[in-house]
């Protein structure tokens, strides 16, 4: 009765990990996995603060307009402007421009149309 999800029924199960000991005494495999995942998540989060100032500013702009949020909004908008000057928004800006161009693309020999808005 006390079973668990059989191996292979979860998409996170990798075939070569099936034979890992259930409770590794040295805990080396698990420690390595946790450390690796923590490092990846931390690296990515820090990099996003630097390169994705758009998301920070958009989030700040949606905060309630009260005196307490004013410094947060100012900081986020200031960082977006500064990041723009430093060229850190380049990836998002270029992808946005490319996506806008692809959305506007028409079939050959068709007349221009107005893009529908949600």
């Amino acid at each position: 009765m006390d079973h668990t999800l059989p191996w292979g029924e979860s998409p996170v199960d990798l075939p070569d990990e099936e034979l890992l000991p259930a409770d590794d005494p040295a805990d080396s495999v698990v420690r390595s996995g946790i450390g690796w995942a923590c490092g990846a998540v931390l690296t990515s989060s820090l990099a996003l603060v630097v390169f994705n100032s758009h998301a920070l500013a958009n989030w700040a702009d949606q905060l309630p307009v009260v005196p307490a949020t004013a410094p947060v909004v100012a900081l986020a908008d200031g960082w977006r402007a500064r990041a723009g000057q430093l060229g850190l928004n380049g990836i998002v800006d270029r992808v946005e421009q490319g996506a806008a161009a692809m959305r506007k693309a028409q079939w050959p020999q068709s007349s221009p149309k107005v893009t529908p808005q949600r």
Binding site: D2, T4, P11, E17, C38, G39, I91, P116
Partner: protein
């Protein structure tokens, strides 16, 4: 709080580090994750958390009574299921029944009306109710150990699958809660791949199709050409797959990073060769839930007279349709699926053995079009809209054509991923876990920046949040 947002990113990173810091803290780790789940759920509406707690308490008490009084176990089980269905029915069908009652009063000549309360449908109420029902049924039938109140509340509240599944069987998750959690590099890498792929499916493919094709066409089908309508129907098939499977992928990936293994929930459903095959690949945890607790548990399954088996199949699918809401179109969607499943079953019995089998691709194409036809009813606001769409397609009517190469490309991309290697996610996970952590962090950042640039103004809530 939606998965593909900055606020969820901050929330999850905090929970991720805190949960691994408490890896060997036993129940304290569960309590941390439980509180985090309530914060996540309370973000939608704090009152929902009270309902979630009440539901967990109800199911825990029902299971205790089932075990404590074996002679009355059947009675307690019935009462527990009715209480669960009562909660679900009240929130989902209250408005429908009040409107019906007022219509009946008006028809009888009464001028007074029943005053309708403003009831909000709690996000994910169906999914945590189904979790609760499966727990008490499984305990009654000896398929699951009884859970402590903390464990059951966690099972029903855990934030990755709280609002749209996958529905995790108690017997699959409870033993995991009682072990020290593990996270190998491969499991972490595969979880990250699932989150990334889910993000692309939701924020790019589903979002682009919804905004630039499906929503405009379905909101005013009369002005669109047959070609536009046909592409919008295909587009919706891809949109709902990418939307729903993205949620599942991200839920499984997020749970994986916390050290919990959730079952597979989608398995390239549009490569199904029959409708029966489709339901083994689409929202697998809900399909199996309906099979075990409704088709077999209530209707008796296939070990009975043929006509009763067919009725059970049809009834299960119609109720499955009605579960989405009290609308004629959902009933038609369920009846179409139920009807075709019955036809498939009968055809298997009467088909002459000497007849050659059709090529597999024919089955795939036919099944995809049946599913797409049913989605037309599912997506349309009114029955008349669905009929208009189908009528204009069959009549090859002229009109506006807004499908662009970009949106058609999204449809092709959504279809193409149905026919890739079934273990593509695992292969990518195996490759990714050989990369150093900083490389994975940079790759993840680039992916998120590309998605940020592609997703336009924002991301709509997941389609299944409303159910």
């Amino acid at each position: 709080m939606l998965f593909p947002t900055l606020i969820f990113h901050v929330f999850f990173v905090t929970v991720f580090f805190a949960s691994w810091a408490l890896r060997r803290a036993g129940d304290w780790r569960l309590i941390l994750l439980l509180v985090a789940s309530w914060i996540f759920y309370g973000w939608f509406d704090a009152r929902f958390v009270v309902l979630l707690l009440a539901s967990a308490l109800l199911n825990w008490a029902a299971a205790r009574l089932i075990l404590a009084q074996p002679g009355r176990a059947r009675w307690w089980l019935t009462l527990g299921i009715l209480a669960n269905l009562g909660i679900l029915g009240f929130f989902k069908y209250y408005g429908f029944f009040i409107a019906g009652a007022n219509a009946a009063l008006a028809a009888a000549g009464w001028t007074d009306r029943i005053r309708a309360l403003d009831i909000i449908l709690p996000v994910g109420v169906s999914f945590f109710t189904f979790q609760g029902i499966s727990y008490i049924v499984d305990v009654r039938h000896g398929k699951s150990e009884p859970a402590r109140l903390l464990e059951l509340t966690f099972l029903m509240s855990f934030f990755p699958h709280l609002v749209a599944g996958p529905i995790v069987r108690p017997a699959d998750l409870l033993p995991q809660l009682r072990e020290v959690p593990r996270l190998s590099r491969g499991m972490a890498a595969t979880s990250l791949v699932l989150i990334g792929w889910g993000l692309i499916k939701k924020a790019v493919i589903a979002n682009e199709l919804a905004v630039h094709l499906v929503d405009p066409v379905f909101s005013d089908p009369q002005v669109h050409s047959a070609a536009d309508l046909l592409l919008a129907c295909y587009g919706y098939s891809i949109e709902i797959y990418c939307d729903f499977s993205a949620y599942s992928d991200m839920a499984i990936g997020l749970a994986g990073l916390i050290g919990l293994r959730f079952p597979r929930n989608f398995d390239q459903p549009y490569r199904a060769v029959s409708l029966q095959d489709f339901w083994r690949r689409w929202h697998i945890s809900l399909s199996f839930w309906l099979r075990d607790y409704l088709y077999i548990g209530v209707f008796g399954g296939s070990r009975q007279a043929l006509w009763r088996t067919c009725l059970a199949l049809f009834g299960t699918m119609v109720l499955g349709g009605l579960w989405h809401g009290a609308r004629l179109n959902f009933v038609i969607w369920g009846a179409l699926h139920g009807g075709i499943l019955v036809v498939e079953r009968l055809w298997k019995m009467v088909r002459p053995a000497a007849w050659p089998r059709l090529p597999q691709w024919v089955g795939i194409v036919v099944t995809f079009h049946i599913v797409t036809l049913a989605w037309v009813f599912f997506r349309s606001a009114q029955f008349g809209d669905a009929v208009a769409i189908l009528g204009r397609i069959v009549g090859m009517k002229p009109g506006q054509f807004i499908a662009s190469p970009w949106t058609v490309g999204m449809i092709v991309l959504g279809l193409a991923c149905q026919f890739g290697p079934p273990d593509a996610i695992q292969r990518l996970g195996q490759g990714l876990c050989r990369v150093p952590f900083w490389g994975v962090g940079i790759a993840g950042t680039v992916l998120l920046l590309i998605v940020e640039g592609l997703r336009g103004a924002g991301v709509a809530p997941f389609i299944y949040f409303q159910f």
